[in-house]
């Protein structure tokens, strides 16, 4: 149970960053922290004690493998996380070239 709670603490650290930071890069960093905590929680749920990695050795029977379904889901989520981070970075560098700052309050003031 401790690991699940620590995972959630990592998620809350990311949420705290998204709420309190004023810097676009720091907000992107906080979002990836939240992503990482969710990945770890899903893989932790699928873990089985003394289970083997989900790669079948043909010819052997009765082996215990860890759950492959959460791992397949997390594999998809990691790649999508990369896509969103790259997109956020493109938007950040675009805004920086226009306003010469990463401060979201300044960008809000310069609207129009």
């Amino acid at each position: 149970m401790t690991v699940y709670i620590l995972c959630f603490v990592l998620f809350l650290v990311g949420l705290y960053g998204v709420i309190t930071r004023r810097n676009l890069i720091k907000i992107a960093i906080s979002m990836s922290i939240m992503e990482f905590s969710i990945f770890l929680l899903l893989v932790l749920i699928g873990y089985i004690d003394n289970g083997l990695a989900p790669i079948v050795d043909p010819g052997t029977t009765g082996q215990v493998y860890v759950d492959p379904l959460p791992q397949a889901m997390v594999l998809t989520a990691i790649v999508i996380g990369l896509a969103t981070t790259a997109m956020l970075m493109a938007i950040a560098i675009r805004l920086y070239r226009k306003y010469k700052t990463f401060d979201i309050r300044e960008i809000k003031n310069l609207r129009g």
């Binding site: 493998y65 379904l69 998809t76």
Partner: protein, 175 residues
């Protein structure tokens, strides 16, 4: 196992908190690398080698992109001066975090404890995947055969994100 994962998670939390409070953006980006590579070690300990490989590649690409963006800028963190309103917001945020924490504790009550997971629907995948898909790696069997449309959607998202980033970077700004 639980203790090892907890220690690595503790380091990851320290790295995350440092990343949020670093004065220089470059050290914040390096600290987020600590969180990402800690996750790789956790994946290896949890018997997920495919995830560890993908996470290493993705983390390295993310670090390169972030360092390229940060080096192009002023790199300094924005100063915020706390006033009376921010104390009220801080108390409000603390209450919301405590509420979220309470509901999370309620939610994990029904979860299997770590290591005692029972296979429910993935039992079919584990028992029949080798005969049905011909792949000895169960994760790729699920990803590219049982859930192939999911992977197709993922490829579409990746393509769209690459297209969007390219468009944003090529666009000339309005003067």
């Amino acid at each position: 196992m639980e203790l090892t994962i907890s220690i690595i998670l503790g380091f990851m939390i320290i790295g995350a908190i440092y990343a949020l409070h670093a004065k220089d953006l470059l050290s914040a980006v390096i600290a987020i690398g600590m969180v990402g590579y800690g996750l790789v070690i956790c994946f290896l300990l949890l018997k997920a080698p495919d995830l560890a490989i993908v996470q290493i590649v993705v983390e390295t690409i993310t670090l390169v992109i972030m360092v390229a963006v940060v080096l192009d800028s002023t790199r300094s963190e924005i100063e915020t001066i706390p006033d009376r309103r921010s104390i009220v917001q801080m108390i409000l945020g603390f209450i919301i975090f405590a509420g979220l924490f309470y509901f999370f504790i309620q939610a994990i009550e029904n979860l299997d404890p770590l290591g005692a997971h029972t296979l429910r629907m993935s039992e079919i995948y584990v028992n029949g995947a080798v005969e049905k898909t011909g792949s000895v790696n169960l994760v790729t069997g699920v990803l590219f055969d049982f859930r192939a449309y999911d992977t197709l959607g993922e490829a579409v998202i990746l393509y769209t994100a690459a297209l969007g980033a390219l468009t944003l970077l090529r666009m000339k700004g309005k003067k």
